[in-house]
Symmetry: C2
Subunit: 251 residues, 2 copies
């Protein structure tokens, strides 16, 4: 069986999504070690960088530097990874083997993810405060959180493609009619969403626990808060990606 | 109380070490998703890079690129972080506040860590195989494993400094006599080591578990194997760093 089919098997997509939950929770836990450190997100004089030819935030600066490195190893040639910044170099590794498993598309919601992360997620997972000595570590954690969230949300393209291939005629009709509500109804799976939220809650509780005294409840990150970030943002945003991908599926 | 004293309080050192265990185990779990991919560790024609002016391995190439970015945000000005590569740029952030908490020293065992990681750890945590499409992801995981191991092992400097400050006269005598065996006997804590290994085993079992069926034993990484990497390598190597640091403590 070809690589394309493997990547689009619903069972493989599901296990990739489950695996990505672990990464997201763990990245949140790592970020939660440091205080809010708001200055790393501010531009210009309100920020913490003092560079001659750069006016953006420290986070944006480091995101771009990191993405340049990742672009070299063809991360953004993968159907699973989307950059937050522009002007990235060409890969130094040869092209991926196998066929690109998705329909060509330009769906990229990273600017929305970045804004939501800074304004909604950081205040929830970190405590108020400013620790100048940990600005670098903070931003390294931020980048990992952003990358894992972006990967998870854009994985909606695989879900959408798999669902489309399972029933192309039904989807074609909805797409041609630009029936967004109809597409949403088609792709939603409420029972599955409930399972995801329950599992996330269990994992956040479990990974955040103090191994020296595992009977104590987790105090490093709030499990309800992790589940609510999924419920309020990750799941709806994944749905948006699925819909946007499908709307462009026949182009 | 000054930053120096806080960083050198044995209770704070211990909680930093416990926290770092989580990061190491989680990084191992991430690496374990991919097969061995030996080509990423080989140089020249045996490797997977085909660059005109570079003959090293893909891992070494990306390590250097990543460390250039991290050097910009002054990671290696921190007493907790040591680079694997040379020729790194100057930081763009201002100097850290507070006094450097360690005695000036050049102890850096990263070349040994790199070799042990490639030859002993990778074969233990990954399954045999080659997956060209995941070379980039593999090496990104490798770098995170290496960085977290390096940080943990070099944290021995904090342990050594704290122990030295608690009893300078006794250590001075041993250091001046170059009594390595005597220093080793002084810094060892067998009961504490047992606690570390037990805790690690518990965490590896717990983080590796399948949340869909938590009663099943962990199948993503072997908990005995994680504990044995600590017992056979991380703990002895940390001791070596402690001894090397102390031997240079009076210079």
């Amino acid at each position: 069986m070809s690589l394309v089919n493997e990547k689009l098997k619903l069972e493989n997509i599901r296990s990739a999504l489950i695996r990505q939950e672990d990464t997201i929770i763990f990245n949140f836990l790592e970020r939660a070690q440091f205080p809010r450190n708001e200055k790393v997100y501010k531009s210009g004089k309100e920020g913490c960088l003092n560079l001659e030819n750069y006016d953006g935030s420290f986070l944006n600066y480091l995101l771009h530097e990191e993405e340049k490195v990742y672009a070299l190893v063809r991360r953004y040639a993968s159907p699973e990874e989307y950059p937050f910044t522009d002007n990235l170099p060409e890969p130094i590794l040869p092209k991926f083997s196998g066929k690109f498993p998705l329909h060509p598309n330009n769906v990229n919601v990273n600017s929305e993810i970045l804004e939501y992360y800074i304004n909604e997620i950081v205040p929830k997972i970190s405590s108020p405060g400013d620790d100048f000595d940990n600005y670098g570590s903070t931003v390294v954690c931020d980048i990992r959180c952003l990358q894992s969230l972006s990967r998870r949300i854009h994985y909606g393209k695989f879900v959408a493609e798999a669902k489309y291939l399972a029933n192309p005629e039904k989807y074609k009709k909805l797409i041609l009619a630009r029936d967004i509500k109809g597409i949403e109804n088609e792709i939603v799976d409420a029972a599955q969403e409930e399972r995801v939220l329950k599992r996330l809650h269990y994992k956040a509780l479990n990974y955040g626990r103090d191994a020296a005294d595992p009977t104590k409840p987790s105090d490093r990150i709030n499990a309800d808060c992790v589940a609510s970030i999924y419920k309020d943002y990750v799941i709806p945003m994944t749905k948006k990606v699925e819909v946007d991908y499908l709307l462009a599926r026949l182009l």
